[in-house]
């Protein structure tokens, strides 16, 4: 690594930290400043002015928002995530139960999606215009247009209701055997792969097609290189940056997919926890969950940026 490369990577790290800080501000103040009062919400039917005032004081909601932001952010650093307003348990407990489940789901999905999408995108680019390319591209545009919950619903209908092969819910008792666990994962993972693959295939194919239009690829063609060699040897290494970026951006879609899929299959993950939190307006829970999701997302984007920098041969010397 040269000095210039490390300087650029350092800059990326700094940008990521700054973004995370700005995101934390946005998350906190959107949840705090918009109208809607947690104390009234918690008391529900039993609300009186006095009761709401007392509860607000107990929860510390009467203090200025800036101070509460400082408390919250320093709490995050110390690992003190506060108490869930609804279940009265520490947020850290709730999250540590759920986070591993979501990570497993996302990891399995990414492990299948990324090679599959890149492979199909590259193959479509190699035989551009062939029946195979048109089949992949049509399927990709179809799945981009379908909402995740539609894919999920149709798959449940097919495999759980009509064929009765797979369980409709992904509830995992601690005593579950290995086969039960695998069966429970099949449908959620399939839905996520379908919904996040298509965008990645389209972007990969487009990035390679762009590189195919450059003079150096034309020169390689004139030298008599075969179509696969043109794509794999000449176009692909120069499209690493846009492809990696598209992978990182599809992760935003994957997260959206995870939120939907965990709800459909009642999967005990972090996204489901957060959706339930939004229903009950459990602010400490929502804030922490958002920060965890944004943290992972920014980490992925940063990793993509760094890979893109490292893939640029002009920066290697």
């Amino acid at each position: 690594m040269t000095k210039r490369t490390s300087a650029m990577i350092g800059e990326r790290l700094a940008v990521a930290v700054l973004s995370l800080f700005l995101v934390s501000l946005a998350v906190f103040f959107i949840t705090e400043l918009l109208p809607g009062d947690t104390a009234q919400e918690l008391l529900g039917q039993a609300v009186t002015k006095e009761a709401a005032a007392i509860l607000r004081e107990q929860l510390g909601l009467d203090r200025p928002a800036v101070l509460r932001y400082m408390d919250w952010i320093f709490g995050l650093f110390r690992g003190d995530l506060g108490f869930s307003l609804v279940s009265n348990r520490p947020v850290s407990d709730l999250i540590s139960e759920r986070l591993p489940n979501s990570l497993i789901l996302a990891a399995i999905t990414m492990a299948i999606t990324i090679p599959l999408a890149l492979g199909l995108g590259i193959i479509a680019a190699i035989w551009r215009g062939s029946i195979f390319d048109r089949a992949i591209s049509s399927a990709a545009i179809m799945f981009v247009s379908f909402p995740e919950f539609m894919i999920a619903t149709l798959i449940v209908m097919l495999f759980s209701v009509y064929l009765k092969w797979l369980p409709a819910l992904s509830f995992l008792p601690p005593s579950a055997s290995f086969t039960t666990i695998v069966l429970a994962f099949i449908m959620p993972v399939t839905v996520l792969v379908f919904s996040s693959c298509s965008q990645m295939i389209r972007l990969t194919r487009a990035a390679i097609s762009d590189a195919m239009a450059t003079p150096y690829v034309e020169l390689a063609l004139l030298k008599g290189a075969s179509r696969p060699r043109l794509v794999l040897r000449h176009a692909l290494p120069n499209s690493v940056a846009p492809i990696v970026n598209s992978v990182a951006l599809s992760m935003s879609g994957l997260l959206g997919g995870v939120i939907i899929v965990e709800t459909v299959f009642n999967y005990p993950g972090l996204a489901k926890l957060m959706v339930d939190g939004v229903m009950t307006r459990d602010m400490p829970l929502i804030q922490t969950c958002s920060m965890i999701f944004c943290g992972f997302y920014l980490l992925l984007i940063m990793a993509a940026d760094i890979i893109a920098i490292l893939s640029n041969p002009r920066l290697r010397r």
């Binding site: 973004s19 995370l20 700005l22 995101v23 946005a26 998350v27 959107i30 949840t31 705090e32 400043l33 918009l34 109208p35 809607g36 545009i141 179809m142 981009v144 247009s145 379908f146 909402p147 995740e148 919950f149 539609m150 619903t153 149709l154 449940v156 209908m157 209701v161 487009a206 992760m251 935003s252 879609g253 997260l255 959206g256 939120i259 939907i260 709800t263 957060m274 959706v275 939190g277 939004v278 229903m279 307006r281 602010m283 929502i286 958002s290 999701f293 944004c294 997302y297 920014l298 984007i301």
Partner: protein, 281 residues
């Protein structure tokens, strides 16, 4: 007859592909349904009209009845209005803010551009559906909040797209010529830059509209979008999903409506004339 040789200037014509024409018809169909929804209703939307829940399609209930015995056809028609109406309102707001700020950033440049771009990048650090959840957690779910959330989520993309297109045009000679003859920033924005990028921007907004529709129905599916007794297409899927094993049409019909709209719009933009498409990502 020498005068016959003077022909009117030939109009620029695009070849319309048949697929694009079909897609345009589908999109127009749903737009008309959404616009004139009240005229197409057969029953009031929230009314229980039949004791037979998940009833079959019949002369009385064209698409059957839902989990409470309400007319699916009427709810679908009204759902088109919610889905398309809210999404379109959000698109207009996000598009206007994004395009105007993007043009401003490109025309003024310098520190203004840098600061604005950095500030807007913050929003890009929050995944779409997550930002929607946070906003709805703060503001509760109502139609104005939904439109506001859509605007907040989608204007950064419009901004970045417009800005990158406008910056390219801004570097061309005729802009320098306009500046040299003393035109102001706003004149250049509106009369010199905008007409040159309006095609790609409209196509880009079309693609964003698909994303908005999918996001909005996703929210409604989670129960955080349009609230009962009213329902957009996503909410219709949610409320009927309990009957998935015996009342499948009630779930599939709104799904098909969503899929047809989104697919038609995506294919339409995919089959636009190359000149416009070239600029799309």
């Amino acid at each position: 007859m020498t005068s016959a040789s003077i022909k009117p200037r030939r109009k620029v014509r695009f070849r319309v592909k048949p697929l694009a024409a079909i897609c345009l018809l589908v999109v127009l169909f749903w737009v008309i349904v959404a616009l004139f929804a009240p005229f197409f209703l057969r029953y009031p939307v929230g009314d229980l009209v039949s004791y037979d829940y998940f009833g079959p399609m019949s002369a009385d209930y064209w698409l059957g009845t839902d989990y409470l015995g309400r007319d699916i056809y009427s709810r679908l028609v009204m759902g088109a209005r919610y889905t398309i109406g809210i999404a379109f309102a959000g698109l207009i707001l996000a598009g206007t803010i994004g395009v105007v700020l993007g043009l401003l950033a490109a025309a003024f440049g310098g520190l203004f551009d840098t600061l604005l771009s950095r500030a807007i990048d913050t929003f890009v650090g929050i995944p779409n559906l997550l930002l929607a959840l946070v906003i709805i957690a703060g503001g509760g779910s109502s139609i104005p909040v939904l439109i506001g959330a859509i605007t907040a989520i989608f204007f950064p993309g419009c901004y970045r797209f417009t800005r990158s297109m406008a910056v390219n045009v801004n570097a061309l000679d005729f802009i320098s010529a306009a500046r040299a003859r003393g035109e102001g920033h706003f004149y250049i924005m509106i009369h010199e830059i905008l007409p040159n990028i309006v095609g790609p921007i409209l196509a880009d907004l079309g693609l964003r509209f698909v994303h908005i529709v999918l996001l909005l129905s996703g929210l409604s599916f989670l129960g955080l979008g349009v609230q009962p007794p009213y329902a957009d297409w996503g909410a219709m899927v949610r409320e009927n999903i309990i009957g998935i094993s015996y009342g499948a049409p009630a779930v599939i019909i709104p799904c098909l409506a969503l899929a047809s709209l989104a697919l038609a719009l995506n294919l339409l933009i995919d089959n636009l004339p190359q000149r416009i498409r070239d600029h799309l990502e």
